[in-house]
Symmetry: C2
Subunit: 319 residues, 2 copies
Amino acid sequence: MSLSEFELIQRSFRACGARRSDLVLGVGDDAALLRVPPGMDLAATLDTLVSGVHFFPDADPEALGHKALAVNLSDLAAMGAEPAWVTLGLTLPAADETWVAAFACGFCSLAREAGVSLVGGDTTRGPLALSVEAKGLVPAGQALRRCGARPGDAVFVTGTLGDAGLALRLLGEGVPVEAGLRRRLERPDARLAAGTALRGLASAAIDVSDGLAADLGHILEQSGAGAEIELACLPCSAAVAAWLERTGDWALPLTAGDDYELCFTLPQERLADLHRLLPALPCPVTRIGTVTPGTALTIRAADGSAFRPSRPGWEHFHS
Amino acid sequence: MSLSEFELIQRSFRACGARRSDLVLGVGDDAALLRVPPGMDLAATLDTLVSGVHFFPDADPEALGHKALAVNLSDLAAMGAEPAWVTLGLTLPAADETWVAAFACGFCSLAREAGVSLVGGDTTRGPLALSVEAKGLVPAGQALRRCGARPGDAVFVTGTLGDAGLALRLLGEGVPVEAGLRRRLERPDARLAAGTALRGLASAAIDVSDGLAADLGHILEQSGAGAEIELACLPCSAAVAAWLERTGDWALPLTAGDDYELCFTLPQERLADLHRLLPALPCPVTRIGTVTPGTALTIRAADGSAFRPSRPGWEHFHS
């Protein structure tokens, strides 16, 4: 890229996100310098989004900027970490000023809102792709991990499931999608407040990026446990409920990715503590089942029969 | 990608790099958890390498694995930081088992050697590209920055300049390239020992990734200073010296990127301290000029005339 193209891009991201006193040195040197407060661990997570794989090549750049950061903040939420800093690797076929400005607007707005500062990165020419590494802070020893679920623990999810999957499906079929539903696909919210509130309470947590069945499966695998969940308990928006009513497609809320809700487990003796927390949370929290001995994930339909979704979840691996 | 493809890739990177007691939680959860020791700052740098832009599509995957990490370690070296952790975003058109195993071998060997642990990342399908974020540790307040050069300071570089550029040029012309020269292009060494040794000594530092003139230019710009350097003082390998003798192409050591040497400035009163350090360094260090008032970078040919390279450096921006 020419120097002027880089200057254009650099200008779009100038002073991006929150000002933080724990940022010693930001964009513009060989590396950023960050100061982790004593007693805190650093949570770090990197995700890559590739055009044509994770988003449509003609996706709204402002929404894409939001989503590229939101999916990483969601990983921090699932660890119970507060977001602090982010780096961005931006690969662009050309330096389209309008596109870059809109992308930066979406990215930097969410960064400011989440209290996170863009501290560095790299811009290169190539097929459109975004790599974002978000870094958060969590009191040492208090991070939410995947491995702590025990038989008898209750299984919960935040918010509603299947909205992003339904929006994606309808868009693919060329059907007009109501704004609220579309927003769930294109501008997801990371459940940051729920994540930090669950520290010291949840026995395990994960964010639902690959679909509930796959992600709860990761908790069970790492915890050496099974679970039984009830289809009838899955929290669904009006749009998804109407879809289920019409199609009976229960695989949607179970296996569609991109929800970015949190799935967590909670020891029975902490249920009262969770209920005390609920009024302060900006999203509903719904019990969907119970952790069991063994290793199987059993899904019960309303008539008590075992349900097996016909589609697998979205498969990828990430830290 | 299918689950088995991801498992293949994950297996190739299992226990990659050094074991570190400051790694609380590595690959396999929503985020890695890292513990920064008290009194240390975290240096973080992200670089993306794109096939066809930063490397040949048929590049040796083992060398590519090495280089993808080395270029990031070089940024840490330029900050005076010791490498600690790394995340890897790997975008692959297909899960080619042989390619992935060779790439992982090159990446993980260097990680082990440099004492750095692979703590997380993401693997996605798409056009071949690599994003690496390296994280290092530096005592708070002791990082080497670009902004501290003052008129009168001496300008130094480590190692030799132009080797990678010459190898790239010869390969492009289909000329056989001697192994040592080719290694400088394909398997660069980060000057980590020099970087940490220069803490508290150098007034500014940068790694030479875009070419000496461009990178020294960054130091001068951020320091609000100029410099005068002597062509005759530029440290060159026998291969580059022979090339210069034959072609007079002085733009090569001045502007070819990919050298990954360190360029640094040193107050005159610290020259004796630097000389005491030299025997312990694994690479030569050569004085090439002096920081001056003003903002111009003047390059003197052997006859005292000002030299202007005909080619600009490799232009990109990164933190």
